[in-house]
Amino acid sequence: MSSQNSSPQDARHPSPKQAIVLDDALYPMPRDRMTARDILDQAGAPAGVVLQRDYNSPIDHIFGDDEMVDLREGNVFKTIPHCAPVPCATPDTRPKLAFVADDVWEVTVNPNQTGHSLKRLMGLPHTAKLFRDFESPIDQPIDDDEKVVFQDGPVFTAKGYSLTIKVNNNAVTVAKRRMSGLEIKQAAIDQKVKIEIGFVLYPIDKDGNLGAAIPDNKVVLFHDCDAFRCVAPDDNS
């Protein structure tokens, strides 16, 4: 049964958390039905834009500011310069759906997943334990073979897993998939990798090639076995 998140919150039946992806950035939302302008306001969008739902087709739905938006029908949006509303009337188009786990999102058009397929979609290790995130301290565990319907809530947390990355060829175990450059260095130092916090961090791709330096404040999304090089900065001479 699908939840009805738009009604006032009931402590006995907490609502699933809601989130949208707007212009490739993630924003939490307080409920699943809101006006387009409320959504834009919560995302900090400027006044001169309108909300456009992103479909898996060239024809997207442009909402009027006062139009009610049901996030359960699709939570991926763009902003465009102010214009008249345009409904998406093509019957075979499917809205893009962003599933979210630990502030990482992946987009699909398939609302019907399983715990297993969702972990695969999100790039989580098979050992991860998935929970649907509710507006309450108690979240709902999701088994691998359990059906997961987008309309029941797109936000999840993953627990009980670790990833192993490599820093200067040393294995470093981390318990989350998003870390800043500073956090990666600190995790490596904590695990006895011989680097210093002031060193320069670089990603290494699967072919062994060096990417652009990762600043301390840049958050990186990584996967098991990702590799990094961390070296002392240079001096003028």
Binding site: N168, N169, V200, Y202, D207, G208, N209, L210, A212, A213, R229, C230, V231, A232, P233, D234, D235, N236, S237
Partner: protein, 135 residues
């Protein structure tokens, strides 16, 4: 008698080439086991005019136990805001290729705490480019 490029130097050259796909990479042996490398069309960003340059350096036969340093860029590079390039930029230098010297600006950034295992030639090049772009 000329000495062939050492295996370690060849591997370093290959890493540089792989990290700059699509860029022309010129290699000249230094006849001592090392080589001179020049990577073309490197973008330094809008802070520089012209914004693209070649970057040259020598990987000596002591590599990986010797630093890869200094690096050279085109001689007519300047800051777009008109400010003067100061140390470690050194004007009126020559990148001394065996085939003939090339006028250049030398960028003198040394790695005093380098680790021969992790501070490879391509890492050094990345650090130098990051530093130039951040100025």
């Amino acid at each position: 008698m000329s000495v062939a490029i050492k295996l370690e130097v060849t591997e370093a050259i290959n890493e540089v080439g792989a990290s700059f796909p699509g860029h022309q990479v010129d290699i000249e042996p230094d006849d001592q086991g090392g080589a001179f490398i020049r990577v073309h069309e490197i973008d330094l960003g809008s802070a520089y005019k012209p914004s693209a340059t070649w970057v040259g350096f020598q990987i000596t036969f002591q590599y990986p136990f010797a630093d890869v340093y200094p690096h050279y860029i085109r001689h007519d590079i300047a800051r777009a805001d008109g400010k003067v390039l100061v140390t470690p930029f050194n004007h009126n230098q020559t990148f001394a290729l065996p085939s003939g010297g090339v006028s250049a600006v030398m960028v003198s950034r040394s790695s005093k705490r380098r680790d021969p295992v992790t501070d490879t030639a391509v890492v050094k090049l990345a650090k130098v480019l990051d530093w130039i772009r951040s100025q």
